[in-house]
Each structure stands twice: as structure tokens, then as C-alpha cells.
């Protein structure tokens, strides 16, 4: 049975607000990065200098956290819409659970890996 136990906040309004706020952060981040790339001759030095700055590191981490929250709410919604007994039979709950765990692990890996890239050596 589809339940809201694994929902991001178990509250539709808060999921909805988070989805929209993170979308704005991601949109602004995309514009900044694309804008930087369009500046012209960008090589390793320029790219590395940009990401050495604290504001860019914070902004990037914020964008990654936004991606994780945004993606989880979206993937949870897709899973609870489509992975149901109607299509998958009595094993639907198990399949949806595996799907959700896979999503969480993937997003956690992205997050930790990104922090390592941003602040690692």
C-alpha cells in the first residue's frame, strides 16, 4: 500500500515549498555557471580559481543539497504514483522500497562525493 512514511517531510505543503525554493536555487546556480562559461576563454585555471572561492563553494554545496531534496521529493512522488500493485502485483511495496533505498543511496553518494570534490585535496 502506498503510504507517506518515506515522504521528505510527510507534509505536502512543506514538500511543495521545498520543491519550489530548491528549483529557484538550481535555476540561479545554472545561470551563474552557464554565464561564467559564456565569458569566453575558460581554462583549468579560471575554473579552479572560481571553485576556490568560498562563496562559490557554499553556493555549489547549496545547489547540491537543493538537487538532493528536489530529486528525492520528485522521485518519491514518481515511485508512489507508478510503482503500485496495479502494475507490479503484490510485490509492488517491496519494489518501491528497493527503488526508494536506491534513490536515497545514489543521492547520498552524490552529496558526499561533491563535498569531497569541493573541499578535498
Amino acid at each position: 500500500m502506498v503510504t507517506q512514511v518515506t515522504s521528505f517531510s510527510r507534509n505536502g505543503l512543506s514538500d511543495w515549498v521545498v520543491q519550489r525554493v530548491t528549483a529557484v536555487i538550481l535555476a540561479v546556480y545554472t545561470l551563474v555557471v552557464v554565464g561564467f562559461l559564456l565569458l569566453g576563454d575558460i581554462g583549468y585555471t579560471e575554473w579552479s580559481t572560481l571553485f576556490d572561492q568560498t562563496w562559490m563553494q557554499i553556493f555549489t554545496l547549496l545547489a547540491i543539497l537543493s538537487t538532493c531534496a528536489h530529486a528525492w521529493i520528485g522521485m518519491w512522488t514518481i515511485g508512489t504514483d507508478y510503482i503500485r500493485e496495479h502494475y507490479f502485483g503484490s510485490g509492488a511495496d517491496g519494489i518501491r522500497f528497493i527503488y526508494q533505498i536506491t534513490c536515497i543511496i545514489a543521492l547520498a553518494i552524490y552529496l558526499i562525493w561533491s563535498i569531497k570534490i569541493l573541499w578535498g585535496n
Binding site: Q4, L13, W16, T80
Partner: protein, 234 residues
């Protein structure tokens, strides 16, 4: 013209099937789909469908005609027939009882959830609870719903989670009571709607607006509910 009709009798059929009919529309007139069904019933009296007022008021004959939900009694053939062909199916998503007759239980269960009646625990005045013309005007576009289920059964979110998503018809009615100046249960009504399914499964694809035979706009009502929930939270 060619008519392809969804047939299913659970007592004799293992699975639903489409039955083809050929018929001449008398005088080539632009009749309503309901009249066409009556003509078909003269050919085969076992054809089952719901109907009552035949003028778009009772909401009994919601059907899927050439892929679009609508009321058979106020849908002229010229509006739906394509290349001389018409396919008639029951409203999508709901369990079929027989032929074009669907089980509306899921739909009514969701309608019941929103408490579709005025709640006011203040002592009643001697005559009636008055409302200003401006407050009354806020109910326009909401009270006209006839609960035909054309909108909710055109909504994928209702197909996927009919036990948890209220659906456009129920939400239009939910807003009808949230917007009513005489209703005092706004807080309780909103509290019942803020879970991830009841309202927030709406993705605003507006299938409901596209099919509503009364020209109503459930998506806008759902937007108002979201705003009320947001204002209540911040």
C-alpha cells in the same frame, strides 16, 4: 456512421471488449451522444448506461467519447465524431459494473472526505445566515459543480491514487466551503488537506479544466487552496 462501444457484462464476459455498430442517424441531424445510445439500445437492448435528466444538470451520463470525457446528453455528435467514427467508453479509472456504468464509490469517498456541507457552530440567527453579495460572488464558479466525475476520471493523479488524492471535483468543492463566509471550519478543513496526497498530487496539467462540461476551473480552486495552506503556515 460507425460506433465502437465498450461492452462488459461480468456475469457472462471474461473481459471487456469493443462492439462495433453501424447506424444511420435519422435525417442526418446533429443529435446528442445520449440520443445515439438510445438508438443503439433499439438495436441491442442489453446495452447499459446511466442517464436521467438528459439536459446536463444531473451529471449521470458522464462518458468517454473518442477519448474525451463529457456528458453524453449535451455533447453533439459534430463535436466528437471523427471521420464518421465514434468510440464510447465508460469514465476511465473507475471499476466498471456493466458496459458504460461505473462504480462511483471511490469518487464519493473522496467527496465525503472534504465535508461538503456548511460547518458553523455559532448559534443560528432567527431567520438565516446572511451573506453579502460580494461574499456570495466568491462562490460563483464553484457551486455549479454537478459531480459528474468527468474531471476526476480525466486526472492521472486520481487514476494512480484514487484512495488518497481528493481529485479535482472534491477539491473544487473543498474550496467552495473554504471560500464561504458563513463557514467557520476553515482551520479544520485546511488541516485535513496538507498531507502529501490530498491536494498536492495535483500537478496542474488541467485535464479537469479541459473536460468539465460546466466550464468550471478546478485547477484554479486547487491553486487557491494551496495559497490558503501557505498563508496558514507562514
Amino acid at each position: 456512421m460507425q460506433v465502437s462501444l465498450y461492452r462488459y457484462n461480468p456475469e457472462t464476459d471474461e473481459a471487456p471488449y469493443m462492439q462495433d455498430f453501424t447506424l444511420e442517424v435519422p435525417g442526418g441531424r446533429d443529435i446528442m451522444v445520449l440520443k445515439l445510445l438510445e438508438l443503439l439500445k433499439e438495436q441491442d437492448e442489453t446495452i447499459s448506461y446511466r442517464r436521467s435528466c438528459s439536459e446536463g444538470v444531473c451529471g449521470s451520463d458522464g462518458l468517454n467519447m473518442n477519448g474525451k470525457n463529457g456528458l453524453a446528453c449535451i455533447t453533439p455528435l459534430s463535436e466528437v465524431v471523427k471521420k464518421g467514427k465514434l468510440s464510447i467508453k465508460p469514465l476511465p479509472g473507475l471499476p466498471v459494473i456493466r458496459d458504460l456504468v461505473v462504480d462511483m464509490d471511490q469518487f464519493y469517498t473522496q467527496y465525503k472526505k472534504i465535508q461538503p456541507y456548511l460547518i458553523n457552530n455559532e448559534p443560528p440567527p432567527s431567520k438565516e445566515r446572511l451573506q453579502s453579495p460580494e461574499d456570495r460572488a466568491k462562490l460563483d464558479g464553484l457551486y455549479e459543480c454537478i459531480l459528474c466525475a468527468c474531471c476526476s476520471t480525466a486526472c492521472p493523479s486520481f487514476w494512480w491514487n484514487p484512495d488518497k488524492f481528493i481529485g479535482p471535483a472534491g477539491l473544487l468543492q473543498a474550496y467552495r466551503f473554504l471560500a464561504d463566509s458563513r463557514d467557520t471550519a476553515t482551520e479544520e478543513r485546511l488541516a485535513n488537506l496538507e498531507d502529501p496526497f490530498s491536494v498536492f498530487r495535483c500537478r496542474g496539467i488541467m485535464n479537469c479544466v479541459n473536460v468539465c462540461p460546466k466550464g468550471l476551473n478546478p485547477t484554479r480552486a486547487i491553486g487557491h487552496i494551496r495559497n490558503m495552506l501557505l498563508q496558514r503556515a507562514v
